[in-house]
């Protein structure tokens, strides 16, 4: 059984309440940080740990914290991004529902490290139960003296607020989140200036994912060195993976980074294999916005190494043959799933969630969705496939925020790896409505794939 850092006590009855959480060693890190450490030392400890942002981009958290501008006489803010809306990702909701005090503990330590007197937890508007849970937890922590004025006699004040989100995927983008938090329409801002210089109400702000902030707790408890020993290479620590799709045991798993993907899918400790004895066809490894990979490429990299669940290994091979760890939304597709339909579904989501501020994303996502709809329902043309690739290229990298990229990558990667299936939808429109393309050669051993790449 691998070591768990975040979900260690998740099965203790009543862990959502302050007393039980405290009896199980909760809020130790707050005591340690506030009584024995300086804010700089906390930041240093996080840097040593090598913790990387868990929200998707994987930017080193310690580095992000040290970039925060510290002008005299200006407030600084910490905002926790709990606007978890990526299709396939549900780890933050799980964490907030069952062990809310872990997040609050992390918020106190992180706010102390950044010198924030006011911090916000921006929770997705649809997660009303979680908002209530968090508010209750905050009240409990405040009663016990862990929030409010002069926490534990250290002279440090912190107010923590829960802010219900605006109900849009785009509000999970950090600058859109800040806009929304300020009470405006959740449109992403144009960077620079980055939030570290000018964020909430033009004050320096750090925006971190729920899991990142929760991970600060074990870092302070065990020390940065101790945390860095878990994991592999530059991917340190543990990661919550939201496994979904055609798996025997879907759910939220805490894994040590560096776990082989094959073990994650097939071992009984984790997902327990593909449901109904079917075969694996494809995997989206990190939430809907990362490139989809066929079964043979997700289990092994193009060089024949087994692929591991880590930032580096999943990205091995770039976008040609790799993917990304993203936010850890692991979606598995069995042989009966239609990749065209799935791509259309993702595309429909991004079309619906585009904020409409910059033109490539506003118009391009709708265009892609319409073309994919046509392909899926048997009215497609051969030229549509190249058209989709071209439109996705026109969107990718030309937008204000990463939503454009997120909309373009799944489409581009699906066509890159599953072109046969798209073509089959054009050549056999009637058949495509009645049955699925099946697994074809997507699970074949890799050497064949290498040959194809070599010819190009």
């Amino acid at each position: 059984m691998a070591r768990k850092l975040l979900l260690e006590n998740i099965n203790v009855p009543g862990i959502h309440s302050f007393d039980v959480y405290r009896q199980n060693g909760g809020y130790r890190s707050v005591e340690k940080a506030l009584k024995t450490m300086t804010p700089e030392a906390v930041v240093e400890e996080v840097k040593t740990s090598g913790l990387r942002g868990r929200g998707g981009a994987g930017f080193p958290t310690g580095m992000k914290w040290s970039f925060l501008a510290k002008p005299e006489g200006r407030e600084r803010y910490l905002v926790c991004n709990a606007d978890e809306s990526e299709p396939g990702t549900f780890k933050d909701r799980y964490l907030m529902t069952h062990i809310p005090h872990l997040l609050i503990e992390g918020m106190i330590v992180a706010s102390f490290a950044l010198g924030a007197k006011t911090s916000y937890i921006y929770v997705r508007g649809e997660m009303m139960p979680q908002i209530r849970i968090l508010e209750r937890a905050i009240a409990e922590a405040k009663n016990a003296g862990f929030l409010g004025k002069n926490i534990l006699g250290s002279g440090y004040d912190l107010e923590l607020y829960v802010h219900p989100g605006g109900g849009a995927y785009i509000c999970g983008e950090e600058t859109a989140l800040i806009e929304s938090l300020e009470g405006k329409r959740g449109n992403p801002r144009i960077k620079p200036p980055f939030p570290a210089i000018s964020g909430v109400w033009a004050c320096p702000t750090v925006v971190n994912n729920v899991e990142t902030i929760a991970a600060v707790v074990p870092i302070i408890n065990d020390g940065g060195e101790g945390y860095a020993q878990v994991g592999i290479g530059r991917s340190t620590g543990t990661k919550l993976i939201s496994a979904s799709g055609n798996l025997n045991k879907p759910g939220v798993y805490e894994i040590e980074l560096g776990l082989p993907v094959e073990e994650f899918i097939y071992s009984d400790e984790y997902c327990g294999g593909i449901a109904n004895g079917k075969k694996l066809k494809a995997v989206v490894a990190g939430g809907s916005s990362v490139p989809i990979l066929p079964a043979n490429l997700i289990l092994n990299t193009i060089n024949g190494q087994p692929r591991l669940m880590s930032y580096e290994s999943l990205a091995d091979g770039g976008f040609q043959t790799g993917s990304m760890l993203g936010s850890g939304g692991f979606i598995a597709f069995d042989e009966d799933q239609c990749i065209v339909r799935n791509t259309w579904n993702f595309s429909r989501f991004y079309h619906h969630e585009s904020c409409g501020q910059c033109s490539p994303c506003r118009e391009g996502t709708g265009w892609m969705e319409k073309v994919l709809h046509r392909l899926e329902y048997g009215h497609g043309k051969m030229s549509d496939i190249d058209l989709l690739v071209d439109v996705s290229k026109k969107i990718e990298g030309n937008t204000i925020c990463p939503l454009g990229d997120a909309a373009a990558w799944p489409v581009a990667s699906a066509i890159r790896h599953f072109r046969d299936e798209f073509e089959w939808h054009v050549t056999h429109p009637k058949e495509a409505l009645e049955r699925n393309y099946g697994i074809a050669n997507y699970a074949n051993p890799l050497p064949k794939f290498e040959e194809v790449v070599g010819q190009n």
Binding site: A168, I170, R185, I190, H351, H352, E353, S354, C355, G356, Q357, C358, S359, P360, R362, E363, G364, T365, G366, W367, K370, L387, D390, V391, K393, K394, G397, N398, T399, I400
Partner: protein, 333 residues
């Protein structure tokens, strides 16, 4: 000159104030290397960055940090650094991206130029002519909206809108109360007033001038005439609320419409009030200054011969000699 920074755009170096945007630095050089801008408006703070037509490639970040920027950047929102090297029309990547943006901007545009009042002074027309491709690959139904009257003077035809947000910035920064804004999101977002309220403000007419397309049009001028048949004349008057510096558009003796004075980038020099714009349409109210110089490339100057010698003169040696003085003056300009 030590406080100025050097920036090289398409191989042409210019010295500008620190903090200048790349687009404005390019405008100081002028000519073909100026990136097109649909949403940026130098007089409106915070505008720009949305339409993505002004994307450029920064091939060298600055003297201190010569790394190129990883992605194409919006030149209207990116400040220059000392020693920065920018590629606009010399970069195939930029040209390709811009073509894509133009195509994408046009997929939901009705292309009803023959019946649009903005035709002839429409930025989208210029943009697609200069940077677009001939045909579109979009084969679906375009989004359409009903026309909305924003008060008795302004009509909103949302179908033509490219969502540049300029009119929102005008209402925020020029008028004291913004009544319209963006409703909805994605390609369903639209400029509208909340529950169809009328926009009634002394400076609201400026939204017509800043609109790069024919989405916001002057109801007092709608369908009166094509802009290239009218004669622009600079004029001013003593106006209590604005500077009163306008362009009058004549057809015969009649003033068909009044607008702000637009420069070569389509930006007005001064915002004007609604009284000047809508209610002062007789010559006797104005002091005429002279003909308005419209950019030579514009269709509005198509039948103005002040500057270009007639083609027939250009080709005939004898006529060139005979018109030497005229010809030299023209080519100098």
């Amino acid at each position: 000159m030590s406080d100025k920074v050097k920036v090289t755009i398409d191989g042409i170096t210019v010295e500008v104030e620190p903090g200048t945007r790349i687009l404005n630095a390019a405008r100081q050089i002028g000519g073909d290397i100026v990136p097109p801008a649909m949403c940026y408006y130098s007089k409106l703070e915070g505008s720009g960055g949305k339409c993505r037509t002004c994307l450029v490639k920064v091939s060298k970040g600055s003297e201190k940090d010569p790394r190129p920027m990883p992605k194409l950047v919006a030149s209207c929102r990116t400040g220059v650094m000392d020693g920065m090297e920018v590629q606009n029309i010399t970069s195939p990547e930029v040209i390709e991206a811009r073509k894509g943006v133009v195509e994408i901007l046009l997929i939901n545009h009705p292309l009803d130029c023959p019946i649009c009042d903005q035709a002839g002074e429409c930025h989208l027309q210029d943009l697609s002519f200069e940077h677009g491709v001939g045909n579109s690959r979009y084969e679906f139904v375009r989004r359409t909206f009903e026309k909305i009257d924003l008060g008795d003077k302004i009509q909103l035809h949302m179908t033509r809108c490219i969502l540049c947000y300029r009119c929102v910035y005008v209402a925020n920064q020029i008028t004291d109360n913004r009544l319209h804004g963006i409703l909805g999101r994605g390609d369903a977002s639209e400029i509208s007033t909340y529950i169809e309220k009328a926009i009634d403000n002394d400076f609201s007419g400026n939204v017509i001038d800043v609109c790069p397309v024919g989405a916001l049009t002057d109801k007092t001028f709608r369908f009166k005439n094509r802009v290239w048949f009218t004669k622009p004349v600079d004029a001013h008057r003593d106006c209590p609320s604005c500077k009163g510096k306008v362009t009058l558009w004549y057809k015969g003796d009649e003033v068909l419409r009044v607008t702000g004075r637009k420069d070569q980038f389509g930006e007005v020099e001064d915002f004007i009030c609604n009284t000047c714009r809508f209610e002062t349409k007789n010559t006797s109210s104005w002091v005429i200054e002279g003909p308005r110089q419209i950019s030579k490339t514009s269709v509005i100057s198509a039948n103005h011969y002040e500057y270009t010698p007639l083609p027939v003169i250009k080709e005939n040696k004898k006529l060139i000699d005979a018109n030497k003085v005229e010809f030299e003056r023209a080519s100098k300009i």
